[in-house]
């Protein structure tokens, strides 16, 4: 009986402390807002809560949320297809590997936001521009991880498949892709928050539809209560996207040995 009560107490402590931390932060925020209220820059909590409630009642807000998520998700899917295909090519053929190595090594560390002015110029303030930026932002890391995953596959497995008379398409489908899937899964999960960032940036700076452009509108009209409300919404969206990506990864890859041990 005693050990279980002890573990129960240990599990409760982090939650209590965490709640304490949040309360402290909210108190500090409220106190700060009363101090600088003359400028109206830091809105008090009730005002932000009111703005948040106002947003929830608006249809346009939910359209914005769906648009932002849609841009992020569509870009993510396109980047996954193209990135995995590229990664498999690079990982299986040393000719492609050598031919693309220098170019990819140079392009990979460059943040996608660099290309934003060009995307704005060519595509204009549209959803396509957002999707393009998202794809540009996460495709190469996914491709690089996929290539690493393909290279990590034991050649004996590939040779075995070949000696069983599998065609190269079948080897790709049944040996290479499953073997590289933990790498692909990790890359996709890591890419998830980045897709959200790019979708928001495309809206903030490039005017692509969604929360990003709503945030810019709120900023230019000086509605700091709306700015805070949108940022809170984005935080929640970020948490949801991360949680969904992590869950999906575990769901889809539970069969792989690297996911089975322990948890």
């Amino acid at each position: 009986m005693k050990p279980s009560r002890r573990t129960g107490r240990i599990a409760a402590a982090p939650i209590l402390f965490g709640a304490l931390g949040i309360v402290l932060l909210l108190v500090a925020w409220q106190w700060g807002s009363t101090r600088v209220t003359s400028e109206g820059a830091l809105p008090a909590i009730p005002i932000v809560a009111q703005a948040l409630g106002g947003l929830f009642a608006e249809g346009a807000f939910w359209t914005d949320v769906l648009l932002t998520l849609g841009i992020a998700l569509l870009g993510w899917a396109i980047a996954a297809v193209v990135g995995v295909a590229l990664g498999v090519l690079v990982g299986t053929s040393d000719i492609v590997f050598s031919a693309t190595r220098v170019v990819l090594e140079f392009l990979r560390p460059i943040p996608a936001i660099v290309i934003l002015p060009l995307a704005m110029l060519v595509l204009g303030p549209t959803g396509e521009m957002g999707v393009f930026l998202v794809v540009f932002g996460v495709m190469l890391p996914i491709a690089a991880q996929t290539a690493a995953g393909v290279e990590s596959i034991d050649p004996v497995m590939r040779n075995t498949a070949r000696s069983f008379g599998m065609k190269s398409g079948e080897i790709l489908w049944r040996v290479i892709l499953p073997g590289a899937s933990p790498f692909i899964g990790t890359a996709m999960r890591v890419a998830a928050p980045v897709t959200l960032i790019m979708a928001v940036v495309a809206g903030m700076l490039g005017g692509a539809p969604g929360i990003g452009s709503a945030l810019t509108v709120a900023q230019s009209s000086g509605r700091s209560d709306l700015i805070f409300a949108y940022v809170v919404v984005l935080g929640v969206l970020g948490l949801l996207v991360q949680a969904a990506a992590g869950r999906t990864e575990r769901r889809l890859l539970h069969w792989h040995s690297s996911y089975r041990k322990g948890n």
Partner: protein, 279 residues
């Protein structure tokens, strides 16, 4: 018994790799150097007579690059951007690592701050910028502050994880040898966490770069990002391309410097890893 198949697999693998590498190395090396050169040449000559308003000749872009950045606007726009970026990044690393060690060692403190850290870090970093601008205006200090705050989180979180994952056996040994608190921190916690700290610091570097550019694009008068977006807004396509090229090169260089520092600082760890994978 159970190690036999693994060994033979490794032998086959390395033998096959060595054979492949020997026979085709010259051709692959030629490809590695040739393809980028060919691509650049194709861009240069393919765009030579380009009248497409969005894709001017590479020659003009290079000329504009030279005119703008070497060294007309170098001191007035490039240096402040780089300065902000480096300063904010170093601040973020210093605070992130020290706070991370503190939170990694003290459980109650970690419990108090963990939910807040988790929430703030899941806000897309650039979305914090409007808050800073609304509450503090748009001075240069605010920009440094915003870059630093946004890029603290990756390094902070990985430092916490690294410190908490320190080998228990090492800690017990340290207790047996009666190392002081400071010695334990210096000789056990920090080395044990350093690979993770560097992994987080790399993500922080990229976040800092993105926020630096974004903060300039959101209405600053000076800086590379501001000039690039200004050029785009006034349909000065060559100027925009010159800005894009410069930002690309800077992003690449930042990464390169980081990789060199990491290789230096983690030489012991990378060496051990290589030795482990060679077995």
């Amino acid at each position: 018994m159970s190690t036999a198949p693994v060994t033979s697999t490794t032998v086959i693998r390395t033998a096959a790799k060595a054979k492949r590498a020997r026979s085709r190395r010259p051709m692959l090396l030629a490809l590695e150097i040739g393809v980028p050169v060919l691509l650049l040449l194709a861009w240069w000559f393919g765009s030579l007579n380009s009248t497409d308003p969005f894709f001017p000749p590479l020659r003009d872009i290079v000329a504009e690059f030279q005119r703008l950045w070497l060294f007309d606007k170098f001191a007035s726009d490039v240096l402040p951007s780089i300065g902000n970026f480096v300063l904010a990044y170093l601040i973020a690393c210093a605070i992130g690592i020290s706070l991370g060690i503190l939170l990694g060692l003290s459980k109650p403190l970690f419990w108090i701050l963990d939910p807040i850290v988790q929430f703030v870090r899941s806000i897309p970093a650039v979305a914090l910028l409007p808050i800073f601008i609304a509450t503090m205006g748009f001075g240069n200090e605010v920009r440094v502050f915003a870059i630093a705050l946004a890029s603290i989180f990756p390094v902070l979180i990985s430092t916490i994880d690294g410190v908490r994952a320190a080998e228990p056996l090492l800690l017990e040994t340290a207790r047996v040898y009666r190392l002081t608190r400071w010695e334990r921190l210096r000789d056990i916690y920090i080395p044990a966490a350093s690979p993770q700290i560097f992994a987080g610091a790399l993500v922080s570097l990229q976040v800092a770069f993105i926020v630096m550019i974004t903060s300039e694009m959101m209405g600053a008068a000076r800086g590379i990002g501001a000039l690039t977006l200004l050029a785009q807004g006034s349909f000065d396509v060559k100027g925009m391309w010159a800005g894009i090229v410069l930002l690309g090169i800077l992003g690449y260089l930042a990464n390169l410097v980081f990789t060199l520092v990491r290789r230096r600082a983690l030489a012991w760890y990378l060496g051990a890893q290589k030795a482990a994978s060679a077995d």
